[in-house]
Symmetry: D2
Subunit: 378 residues, 4 copies
């Protein structure tokens, strides 16, 4: 693991997610840029001191030097955005698979370079767009793929938050500080942090790529260096239209990621706030409430639940599903067989490239007064 | 009453709304362009044949000729859009107050002409943007006006419907037929029909006018002559930003008019589907559920309820509140006193002009590939 | 109209409900036991002074003396409970139909006497158990009647309120005062006021009569003279079991009447708080959300809506549906034909007798430490 | 671990719950009464064969023989109900702490014996009444304890399920088979399986013990040997009254455990289906929606969350909170200090005794036609 030392948020989430199914064990880490803090963080996690490294470079070199059956199987990257690319690149170059927090890199050029590297090395690369790990999101995708909703016409996806409605970064709060800092977060603020989740969710469920967008970006909080609000018009492959709005100044909102998709025949609606329900809508029939782990769900949603129906699942389980499928794909590879459709269901470098292209297009459009801006199809 | 003969929808709603409080009595009508049908419709309503007219012109002339204490007090107009302006104009010119269905007119020029006429005659003009009649919408406005939410930053307003997701007008369905016909509906389809309600709701609650917008208009259903979907970026006075989306192809949706408003201090959320709840949001305190008729509500919301707390109110009561305040203002006028703030709380010709300007700006922007288009402030 | 003078609550509701469809006109009234107040109340309602009577006896006599085409068609009774029986009895004895607020009478003996009188006179008698007027309640009944849920096994019905969680009657509040006064309310407090609504709703939807019950009655608020809370076990015809709880000390609750019914095949759930949704449940299929005025509803629910789908209906419309069906039955009678199933769908004296029997059984059981107590089947 | 071999449900839940925080490691197990299956199950979990035992007796003996720093720290018991007591007893007698699935034992006598043993040995005993692990349930308890709701008057607690609405046990389904078998499940069916959860939740939140109850027990499904439905009147210490109903024939229901508590000043409502919201109700103020991990929560709810606000938590995290506090108490003990209030917050043998007493009282009352039956206070 790279990053995730004491005081971090997402590192702990990754560790729980990785451990949840008892198939993945944390064996080493470079938990902090401060070697002493890295060792201390590793000790908290019951790791031997000699596998708590001062830097990711040190870690990759040392682990590579270990016998194959002792060394780490893959690298999990849980650092702030600007530190995603360097360890991912080095890991791949040294033969290690990679599971990275999102966004994949600091900019699109890096993401493409990583894409080339993944293709060349043939190694696995996973990206924790964790919301796609929810069973009902998988069911939504499968409903669209089945054609039961008809050709998709409209997508409304949104991710309002309220936690940055004041200049929290001015107080020294660690999460706020790096997420609003262009040097660590990248060209975009709320668009990079949460807008990409919304973009990824829309493309994951619909199977359609965004072709172009018009983005009205705003920084509402005085003194902030990056956008904290975005209203975006979307046009998809195949003629579908959409709205994406995300914000960190929607005071009182939690992580209200939500999506509605309407096809020619039917529609669907999902809210992260109540993640175990999926509303499925029809023109002349009652709306149906699909529920996690129910017997009528498809294979991917079913595989994504650990408990029988009626046991609410949450964020950590969804996150763990990324790890689980990544690990299952790794295992398939070790067994010399292709992964199943379900095992292969986790975000990859393609999602990372899409995400970075989305961010750059949004920022460009925002600077051009919301002019239509194309996203390269990939 | 002009319009609202047999087979109409909104005419019946107006009649119930007008009668609900026992203060307004239907005394005459030109219910249909077909004089026989007009008489028959009047007979259904227990009106004497001599006050069931063949045309609105005939009605206005005949009523004017009656002694002052016998003639109608005001004209209610419930025709399709293209027939709103002519009777309104004639009524005002002949000394009758007007209460009209929305949109006020067929185009902006007519609306402005009507505005001039209202100013010149000093008569009352009301417009049934009925959603502003809900008690919790009034409370939302008062919360913003009180400053308790702080300066407004963001507005998300939406009105998805699904009833026109197929070419229903091709089947001869009366409502669908005129609403999708440019000759009767105007320059816009779903934007004129329901988008204006969303626009009016946003301006009513926030007290802010939309300065400019960028609209992506679509006609999804083949063979349809007007837009059936719109995604619109909004910029308001004072720097607030917003999203407005409306659609008639969101299959499975009813009249899901909804609004969220976020200020610097607090936010609010209201859904027509559950009109008696208003969510009020704070950064570090629990979200509150305000409920219709509760003791903690302000004067306008309180006046808008006919029952004690806990009796769900609906669309008809909200509609009736427009009539009630209009009638109360009329009475105040007869009593020679200015109406109270509460009595004066109904949509007026200013709202009508705003609505028509909004429609024209949306259509212009839509034709210009969603270019930013200004709305004249009024 | 008997009762419903200035300051009353339910009288105004009855008047709106009666007027809503433009088929019923208020022509006279004895609005108050105080003749001056009765006249003043009538003047508020634009009634001529000579038809505003000082007592119901005076009203019945005077109206009877009018020519048939001038006199009132039926008497609406909207007084406190102890004054339901005397005017109902006199009206029936003098040839007038009756529409009464609930409970039908002050005690079971009176209700039976009224039942005999209705049978003997052949006149119409309606009772405003208004919650059965909601379209989705009618749909629930029809779902059960259709057999689609299978044989009914379990019913959970509840009516928690919070408005009497303190000794409000001590403050002189008019509604609280008579509802907690044994001389005006009857043998039971919250059980008579709202428990009967719950009982009626359960019997209406399931079509099953309660055979016996065990009731734990409590008066929580010190100084109160009647029960303000009841927890009741139910046993129905055919072996179904149930729970009924009602309360006026559930602080923070509005009129949260709700019911769940489970059959061998399917279940349903309805809440007055969101009266336009009916949840229909199946063992291995998604729960369905039935909505008011939707095309898939049955004839009775359809007839109970005044607007197309997607216009929320509320308490007043539900109340008006009782009046509407009562009036339609009256009209059918005048036309010399039997009412249709839909026209005939309003609560009758049978419901009144059931309600009074329920109240007496609950009170008896409560006094006997919740011993099982039978309700006579009728 | 005792039980939880291949094909079991709750064993896997316990393992995930134990592992979630990285503080507990599974070191050995007697996973099945079939030694071969036990070894195979252990192999699935990467355990060495020599610590996969054929019986719990063998396991306890062998582990006790290991050096103190090698042997297991505590025994987790995840067998069907009839096999809770024997391993718990033996573990305690041999110096091992115990964490057991619920109900604690097969009958009240065993539970009392276990209580004595816990007191005598001074060892830790935890019981996985997992619903008390939800943060919002902890907040509910703390709200009551703080006195902010006033003296408690009424409790409505319910646990409807639908999965046994047919004779599923006849199909050989493993979960259904043992839960409906008196020899393995105990004297009660749904009351023992889920009614005890409801009872525990009510006592946990209110801090009040049930003094007496009147239970109407039913077996609706023909051929079933135990109750599948219960409607129960409750009387608590201090005069509070309540309703508890639980069922496994409420077709279409999941695990809809829910509770409402009303005090003299305020009320609260919680539903397992949306476990991250707690409704807090007041007489003259808007209802508040408390949410998991929010800054305004108390210490116990806060400690029970692993993520910042807005990340939905579920069943597994709640379950893990039992393990976490149990482990923290164990650690405190090793550190020679008393556990903090938060660390000490997990169900103990007292809850187990209460649960068994509740079951026996319900069964006795059920057999006596719902006669009032006392539960011994402890």
């Amino acid at each position: 693991m790279v990053g995730g030392g004491r005081g971090a948020f997402i590192g702990g989430v990754h560790r729980i997610a990785a451990a949840l199914d008892g198939q993945i064990e944390l064996v080493c880490g470079a938990f902090s840029a401060d070697p002493g803090k890295s060792k201390a963080s590793g000790a908290d996690l019951f790791l031997p001191p000699d596998r708590c490294y001062g830097t990711f470079a040190e870690m990759i070199a040392a682990e590579k030097a270990l016998p194959a059956d002792k060394r780490m199987d893959f690298v999990a990257i849980v650092t702030p955005n600007h530190m995603h690319f360097p360890p991912a690149k080095m890991a791949l170059e040294n033969g290690f698979h990679v599971l990275s927090d999102k966004p994949a890199t600091f900019n699109l050029a890096e993401a493409r370079e990583l894409g080339d590297l993944v293709r060349e090395t043939g190694l696995l690369y996973g990206l924790t767009h964790n919301y796609t790990g929810y069973p009902m999101v998988k069911e939504a995708r499968d409903l669209v793929r089945s054609g039961r909703l008809g050709r998709i016409r409209k997508v409304v996806v949104e991710y309002p938050q309220g936690w940055l409605s004041t200049l929290l970064e001015g107080s020294g709060q660690k999460q706020a500080a790096w997420r609003t800092d262009p040097a660590r977060s990248g060209a975009a603020g709320c668009v990079g942090d949460i807008g990409t989740h919304a973009e990824n969710l829309a493309e994951y469920i619909t199977g359609l790529q965004i072709l172009e967008l018009a983005a009205d970006l705003t920084t509402f909080v005085e003194g902030r260096l990056l956008d904290d609000d975005a209203n975006i018009l979307l046009r998809f492959e195949g003629g579908a239209k959409g709205i994406l709005h995300c914000s960190q100044i929607c005071v009182g909102e939690e992580n209200n990621l939500a999506i509605r998709v309407y096809g020619e025949i039917g529609g669907l609606e999902w809210h992260q706030k109540e993640p175990n329900s999926l509303l499925v809508k029809w023109p002349d029939q009652p709306t149906q409430i699909y529920r996690t782990a129910s017997p009528y769900l498809g294979a991917n949603a079913t595989a994504a639940s650990r408990t029988p129906p009626a046991h609410p699942e949450g964020y950590l389980e969804a996150f763990a599903n990324i790890y689980r499928n990544f690990a299952a794909s790794l295992l398939a590879r070790e067994e010399g067989r292709p992964p199943s459709d379900t095992e292969n269901d986790f975000p990859k470098i393609h999602d990372g490239i899409r995400g970075m292209a989305f961010i750059e297009a949004v920022v460009a459009s925002g600077k051009a007064n919301a002019a239509w801006t194309k996203i390269p199809i990939s």
